[in-house]
Symmetry: C2
Subunit: 224 residues, 2 copies
DNA sequence: ACGTGAACACTTGTTAGACAATATTTGAAC
DNA sequence: GTTCAAATATTGTCTAACAAGTGTTCACGT
């Protein structure tokens, strides 16, 4: 019996949306930068409706913003948005660790991701972002819920957009992140969901306040 | 100083998407029914690209499904989807009640919605759906988080789509729903988040299994 | 009769060009 | 310098069209 090899023939709109997303995440597009439909159409050499569709997709994802008859702009997420996003993350993720702990389930992929963090030598300051995201995503994906994974991915993409604005900042202490992750995993294996959720909340709150402060907000650990 | 009166000049695409959604929820469109772009364009007397945009919006919301070069169809959500949706609801909502209880916050709108449920005389069997949704939505909205509210609303719209398929079924016992809501609100005021979350989980699990069973699934209270 | 394969119709993906409606900017008048 | 009006830029929508993919029919050969 032949094995099915999954291939995806992505459409032009998909390709443009994907590339715009990459440019957004790599900082190629500054916050509040204007993205007219004609510009996008011109730079990819496609028709305007095609560019329009790609832009509208990113607007739906929250990466771009635009009002009626206004040109789309890169979302400039401030401290308020950061707190909104991280609170949503905390809601989803702390409930996830509660239920993972109840099943004493320690996702293998999360362990791997955290090992990758430990293995980091001093590269660029934000080399830790990728394995860190992978750690948190693997916790979410471990529950195997399509819609939860999709919602969380949407939040992660907004976080990545924020991060492009603080590339220079020294936000994150790699070893501390690793240690906290390790403790969370241990609590999952021990079945202590309460403690794991509490620790995760602290972990996210710390990251949130650093990011919010870097984006010009005042320190406000209780905000949310 | 003149008071600002907020008006929304919705676009044609918005209007069509809205109307299609209503038709979806009112059962005017059967599950798995085909919705070609030309048909939609013809029935609203607009150009095909306009209809296309409306269809793509509903596809993004999960109300329609479509593959590349295939005609869009009404999503026919089965027991598996119901469990996926309700588990996502439970994750969001049980964490919400935990945190509402921690603040001993009892949302006034939730109290109102539950009073509306109690005031129901025997109308159509699914007259309870609207105030029930409103009860749960008001709990979510009480935390004042933009992204959580948006995610939850997306889940609710999928639930509504499921419900249109079981209109005839006697799914819900009004007084039981009211009582359970009442107990949840009481636990919020008492600050007992654990108990409130547990009760809410049971409440949603019951609704989930009734809905899943009505959609042809086998009883499986532990699924998810 | 049955499976094969080619022609066909249907649908979607994408493009081009155009016009109207709305925002934004420029410029001129006071 | 401020304010109003014209010019420009941009988006929303339409018409028409072609290309490409999907599903179906139907004749054909075995």
């Amino acid at each position: 019996m032949p094995v099915v090899i999954p291939v995806a023939a992505i459409s032009i709109v998909d390709a443009i949306a994907h590339d715009l997303r990459e440019r957004l995440f790599s900082g190629g597009l500054s916050p509040a930068a204007a993205l007219t439909e004609t510009d996008v159409a011109g730079s990819y050499d496609v028709a305007r409706p095609t560019a329009k569709a790609a832009i509208e997709r990113l607007v739906a994802e929250g990466l771009l913003v635009r009002g009626a008859h206004k040109t789309a702009r890169v979302a400039d997420l401030g401290p308020i948005d950061v707190r909104d996003i991280y609170l949503a993350r905390a809601y989803l993720e702390s409930e996830v660790v509660r239920r993972l702990a109840a099943a004493r389930s320690v996702p293998a992929e999360a362990v791997r991701a955290n090992a990758d963090i430990a293995a980091l030598t001093n590269d660029t300051p934000l080399a830790v972002v990728e394995p860190d995201m992978r750690f948190h995503l693997s916790l979410i994906d471990a529950v195997g819920n399509e819609r939860i994974s999709k919602m969380y991915r949407s939040l992660v993409s907004e976080v990545r957009l924020c991060m492009t604005r603080v590339q220079t900042l020294k936000l994150l202490d790699t070893s501390m992140i690793h240690d906290e992750h390790e403790r969370i995993l241990a609590l999952l294996g021990a079945g202590d969901g309460e403690a794991a959720a509490r620790l995760l909340d602290d972990h996210l709150a710390r990251a949130r306040e650093r990011l919010a402060a870097a984006l010009g907000g005042t320190a406000d650990p209780a905000a949310g």
